[in-house]
């Protein structure tokens, strides 16, 4: 487990980073793993190169239907009862030290796609 979050910190910060770290921790504590892969269909909705720092907004159709939670040892399915399959999400990014950092990731779980 990436407990110090060093890799995550290369791609995200702020609330998005905290959320990802908390999610990792909960999986770890529950002896759970994620298997399969999530799929993304991202569209750039806005870029502001005049802002300081520069910002961008991406709307994504997040497809987690092939990404499942399993028991770390037995590999049996442990998906939560209220799990999602596809939903719209909006990622907010800032340009920081020559790359884009996701600092917020808002989900619209009632909007499928």
């Amino acid at each position: 487990m990436d407990s110090d979050g060093s890799a995550l910190e290369a791609y995200s910060s702020g609330r998005a980073l905290s959320d990802a770290l908390v999610g990792l921790r909960q999986l770890h504590d529950g002896k759970l793993l994620m298997t399969g892969m999530p799929r993304n269909s991202a569209v750039v909705k806005a870029v502001d190169l005049n802002a300081d720092p520069q910002t961008a907004v991406i709307e994504d159709c997040v497809d987690v239907s092939d990404w499942h939670r399993v028991d770390a040892v037995t590999r049996t399915a442990k998906d939560p009862a209220d799990r999602l399959n596809r939903y719209v999400a909006t990622a907010s990014l800032r340009w920081f030290q020559a790359h884009w950092l996701i600092y917020d990731f808002k989900r619209e779980v009632d909007r499928t796609c």
Partner: protein, 312 residues
């Protein structure tokens, strides 16, 4: 505004990291801790429908965890409602024993006007992540809390607790006893006492918005105890003996034995040398204060002292 196909592709890659790859590193996660808290709650948030909506308490009233992991060498534990939690957790942050939640300042604060500011201006404080492991709050996803930096405001991170944590993590060295003469000490003749390896650990600090704690290592003298009341206190670690000093006394830490060690077990004086390390704590901010924590480190020593010098 600008919208061209080329940057779009790059953004798509990064966006997938947010929803997927950020967490798919959890595929390699291994588990070495007991609680099954995660099994009954919905995580990670990217596959859950109710995250962030608050309410909907599904978590078990988990008071069963903790307790068993107080084994030596583990993290320092903080207590809340008879359950113990690590005072610091790399992902969750710093435990607050008053409310039973972990807090840490968001490394990148939300934009002004974001609801996470709870109506405050960024100049008035900071937004912290809040994870409350014993209740639904936090297990169902991330919560945030505005923390005022106004004078007199209650900070969510107890820097006094964190100072002790920082001090415990600093490597205060145990003394390695140096004694001269080592094999040929005699009564009523100078014996040099010094401790090797007494390099103070580097200062350690923690900074949160509007406050900080810094812990600095200081050596507050040594105690050499040879048993039976033969005790020497020195203000310093002592000066290593060198043959060029011949019969001179140590300039800062020496002793002259009044009796030999011949009647003692094994024919030697045995005892301990203690380095009186001190963690000097300086806390700035609303709860500013300064205090010291004793961090003594000791080791055993043995010295043979002959009753009389044999002369031809």
């Amino acid at each position: 505004m600008l919208n061209s196909p080329k940057p779009a592709r790059r953004f798509a890659v990064v966006a997938s990291l947010s929803a997927g790859l950020l967490l798919s590193s959890a595929v390699t996660a291994t588990a070495d801790e007991p609680p099954d808290a995660g099994a009954n709650t919905c995580s990670p948030s990217v596959i859950c429908s109710h995250v962030g909506t608050g309410g909907s308490s599904t978590s078990t009233s988990g008071t069963s965890q903790g307790g068993g992991d107080t084994g030596g060498g583990g993290p320092q534990l903080c207590s809340y409602h008879d359950t113990q939690w690590a005072c610091y957790d790399p992902e969750r942050g710093y435990f607050n024993s008053d409310v039973g939640c972990y807090f840490r300042p968001l490394d990148q604060q939300p934009a002004e006007g974001d609801k996470a500011w709870e109506g405050h201006k960024p100049s008035e404080g900071s937004v912290y992540s809040k994870v409350c492991p014993q209740t639904a709050g936090g297990q169902d996803g991330l919560q945030t809390q505005f923390v005022s930096n106004a004078a007199g405001a209650t900070p969510v991170i107890n820097l006094t607790v964190q100072a002790k944590l920082l001090a415990d993590r600093m490597a205060f060295p145990a003394p390695k006893a140096g004694l001269a003469p080592k094999e040929t000490a005699v009564v009523k003749a100078p014996v040099w006492l010094w401790a090797e390896g007494m390099v103070a650990p580097k200062p350690s600090s923690l900074t949160v918005p509007g406050a900080s704690v810094t812990v600095t290592a200081q050596l507050d003298g040594m105690t050499w105890d040879f048993g039976q009341g033969m005790t020497v206190d020195c203000a310093t670690a002592g000066t290593p003996y060198d043959p060029v000093y011949k019969d001179a006394k140590s300039p800062d830490c020496g002793y002259e034995f009044a009796a030999g060690s011949g009647t003692r077990k094994g024919g030697v004086f045995t005892g301990t040398v203690t380095a009186h390390w001190r963690a000097h704590v300086v806390i700035t901010g609303p709860q500013a204060k300064t205090f010291d924590i004793d961090m003594p480190r000791g080791s055993d020593l043995a010295l043979k002292v002959a009753e009389v010098q044999v002369l031809n």
